[in-house]
Amino acid sequence: MSAPTPATQPRMQAVRDFGRALLFLGKVISRMRFTRLQVAETLRQIYFAGVRSLVIIVTCGFFVGLVLTLQSYDALARFGAADATSTLLALSLFRELGPVLTAILFAGRAGTSITAEIGLMRATEQLDALDLMAIDPLERIIQPRLIAGMITVPALVLIFNATALLGGVVYAVFLMGTDSIVFWGNIQNTVELGRDFGHGMLKAVGFGIVASWLAVYYGWTAKPTGEGVALATTQTVIATAIVVLFLDFVLSALML
């Protein structure tokens, strides 16, 4: 086998990084323990990652719903199909926009905070201190944050979808005068619980795993310097966005 050339080295590095991240995830899962302390810490992390992300999720959800309705109402009205706006809105949200945007927003708000926190814990020897007290940092620090992220993202997707629909109602019903019975009735008649809403929620679970996995991984592997932690937080957002978009394509293709 020939040695890697400079052109193939970045790709080799990416493959190596992915392998390391997978091994890290495997290690965390194999060491999981569910004691009273762990459950309490997980609930605390759900608060930090979830409740504190609510402002950005609710705000973005509302405006995404508003703009999406505005654009689709305008386009559909040209074909005399303005009543189908709510169907288009609901399908776009449930199938794609809700899970994808929530996961990316989660990476930007909670993911970066998780990465920075773990990176700083390494820089200030807090992870070493745990290790020296015979407390496994993977179990005490990583596990609660990983599980909290997995639970939080699907819950945030539900909230994002609900507020985006509210944005749609504000534009279509209150501003453009669409009958609210028509608006909700069309959604009820066309959106399937399993195929549309269910598949979207499955994606949300997948994206939750990816977003929290990458956040804890980049924090864990951050260099213990200011620059190292800054780089790790940036990598969390970039890697999560890329993997979520790629995974979205794969899952969409599989679910259709």
């Binding site: 302390l37 020897e125 201190a129 020296l132 007290m133 496994d136």
Partner: protein
């Protein structure tokens, strides 16, 4: 050079060689830490003092040689055995390494909650006793960010002795302390050692403090153990490097300047840097 198999020693490093990132840090080093005493491991910056602490705690393994703590071969430990071994060590890291999201009380209670099944009422009493020992019972509900660096280190000391370990390891416990905190830390290390009959290892380069505190000293330089003895014996030594170190002279066997090309040549070379 010392080559000991002394079973009375609490900690024994035997012909240990350590290489970190390709750089040789310790070479064929042997030393004993006597049981029940306060032993200082001293040496210039970068001499490998903290590496010795990391060998004892099994954070790193030697390339060759053995590390023994009591009857335990530390370099062979892993998994649960390593966990059990570490529960018997109290380590004070350089910056205290307290958990900033926990109060001082919860920091000290953490090892008790993780490793014992004691009821919360008993844990509360034990934590308050430990905090009382370091004089910070009144700061129990405060967060580390609300306390000074010296106080943080005292809380970390209380946490390190929470499980009443047989061995206490202190990494640069005096660095950056004001004279009052320094005096308090010296007294605490001595009191903890004597009251709990522990073996204490203090990694430091503070010569004056060691003279006031330690029963025994090891000086590390050039990847080797160059001297051992009581602080008084070392102060009397005529070894050139020991005299430079104990006297704090800027030049000697350990040069003040990092190796560099000739100053005049570099200044006149006309390069940007």
């Amino acid at each position: 050079m010392l080559e000991s198999t002394d079973r009375a020693a609490a900690i024994t490093l035997n012909k240990v060689t350590v290489r970190l990132g390709g750089r040789l840090v310790l070479e064929d080093l042997s030393l004993d830490i006597p049981r029940g005493k306060v032993t200082a491991v001293m040496g210039p910056s970068g001499a490998g003092k903290t590496t010795i602490l990391r060998l004892i705690t099994r954070q790193i393994r030697p390339e060759t040689g053995t590390v023994r703590v009591g009857e335990t071969q530390v370099n062979q430990l892993k998994g649960r055995e390593l966990g059990r071994f570490r529960r018997n060590l109290g380590v004070l890291l350089q910056n205290g390494a307290l958990f900033t999201d926990l109060t001082c009380f919860d920091n000290v209670a953490l090892p008790l909650r993780e490793h014992t099944d004691l009821p919360e009422t008993l844990i509360r009493r034990l934590v308050l006793i430990k905090l009382q020992t370091v004089g910070l019972r009144g700061a129990a509900e405060m967060y580390p960010r609300e306390l000074s660096g010296g106080m943080n280190r005292r809380i970390a000391m209380a946490r390190a002795m929470a499980l009443d370990p047989d061995i206490m390891l202190y990494d640069e416990p005096f660095a950056g302390l004001d004279p009052i905190s320094l005096g308090v830390s010296l007294r605490l290390i001595r009191e903890i050692n004597d009251a709990q009959d522990t073996t204490s290892v203090v990694i430091t380069h503070d010569v004056d403090e060691v003279a006031r505190l330690a029963d025994h000293c090891h000086i590390i330089a050039d990847r080797q153990l160059i001297a051992s003895g009581s602080p008084a014996e070392l102060a009397e030594s005529d070894h050139e490097l020991i005299r430079q170190f104990m006297g704090g002279h800027p030049d000697g066997p350990v040069p003040f300047h990092y190796p560099a090309p000739d100053l005049a040549e570099q200044m006149l070379a006309g390069q940007a840097r």
